[in-house]
Symmetry: D2
Subunit: 150 residues, 4 copies
Amino acid sequence: MPPDLADRFDPALAARMQGADPASAGGLPAFLGIEVTECSPGVLAARVDVVPALLTPFGAAHGGVLAVLVDHVLGAVCYPVIPRGAWAATTEFKVNYLAPVREGILEARAEIIALGNRIAVVCIEARSNGDRVGLAQGTVTIRAPIPPPA
Amino acid sequence: MPPDLADRFDPALAARMQGADPASAGGLPAFLGIEVTECSPGVLAARVDVVPALLTPFGAAHGGVLAVLVDHVLGAVCYPVIPRGAWAATTEFKVNYLAPVREGILEARAEIIALGNRIAVVCIEARSNGDRVGLAQGTVTIRAPIPPPA
Amino acid sequence: MPPDLADRFDPALAARMQGADPASAGGLPAFLGIEVTECSPGVLAARVDVVPALLTPFGAAHGGVLAVLVDHVLGAVCYPVIPRGAWAATTEFKVNYLAPVREGILEARAEIIALGNRIAVVCIEARSNGDRVGLAQGTVTIRAPIPPPA
Amino acid sequence: MPPDLADRFDPALAARMQGADPASAGGLPAFLGIEVTECSPGVLAARVDVVPALLTPFGAAHGGVLAVLVDHVLGAVCYPVIPRGAWAATTEFKVNYLAPVREGILEARAEIIALGNRIAVVCIEARSNGDRVGLAQGTVTIRAPIPPPA
């Protein structure tokens, strides 16, 4: 963890993120029921319950489930340590699928490895039922907020 | 395109994939309404209508939308050129986000760059409203099917 | 190719890069004998002669040969289209090895896919003896020059 | 670390790798002087002395130096835990550059995250003078040896 993450940490925001109702987010995170389970300086964990509707005809979770979770925690881990109102936009990420997930909880844990004024690099490990099932690494660009279309 | 993709191509499967009702797939692809718009030897294109429910509070499509689409076409482009019943499992992919998508159609076009007995490498370009918005590259492992849990 | 690359293109710099003696660069590029064979707006190709000294005990080129070439063209393709004196620093790249290279010429061709004020995204294809042997994708940060240590 | 790496570990090979003279390897590893500093089950560290010849005109180590080191440890960490004579071929890797390296020792530490019969996934962290300067993740295919050309 870069040394000054604790100084930049916004515990109130972290508490809101951790307590949020997954359904309230809307869109993809609500569809998957992404729930933040840990949010500390430079670290964020979130999980999805791999219900049968998320499996492919081959009986494993669609790769997109892990991909969404990776993209989600990649940005989310940044918000408590960047200025209020700034936007953590995914520049890119890479994910390895280590084992199929067939049921139970899929949890991803993101850790900020480097944080500059404009760029953060994050490492993400995903586990399910005690096994590592995914490993990812991504780059986030920190931007001033872009207002939504009127 | 590797030279022998046309010989391995299963046009009947391709036609079924292209004509499939997005809602019939269930899970993430149905939630996003992923529709296959082109399926030829070594190439597959699919698209998503970026409805407001898929936007984040910042007004851009959640990065997970492109991530799911990338993962989806990465595997789907392989099925018409691998043996019936084989499984195209994502080993890994990497995606760059080139521009935010705020509305309209998001389309990803996958092209098989290399295909061996066990591994395929695929390049994917995503466009929206005429602009390139994503670029991805991934590795797929071709496996005999794993039966779903009883 | 992004539409305005031709307007930003510095043909004098491109000509110098294309005509440069590989030995004059020093360091890794000189050791490998990297020679720029094409330099046009948004595109740069360079090649290495895969001499026996670059093979591993298994008789294939060390993966580092392609990795250096990828990193090299990733930055080099940017210089003729960024301000004089700016620095094209590799943020990250990803490379797939498609086939071993045992002899002959290894050539990589880089194409700028997106170019903003601060970030460029580049796609790179490597070929040897007519076959695709590598595919890469990378992100470059454009920075004001950092002076070398005194 | 996957649980059975210790059982597969070949300590004699590891000892040879750790004690090898960098110059004896030839090619790129000898040019860079890559020295293995640690080799235990599932972990391998190696380092390069960043001499002035490895710097670019901007005064930072050429990105290729880290790229070669990453590719090198990615394969090397596998050899002591795969069958004698098998070949650990890089399928792909992705590397993030976190900070420029201007002098001193560059060290990369590879750790096997997953190891199956055919594929290994490896995470690599690079440090210099106490700082993290690179993060990488790669996929290795384990193959029976391919004899060098006659």
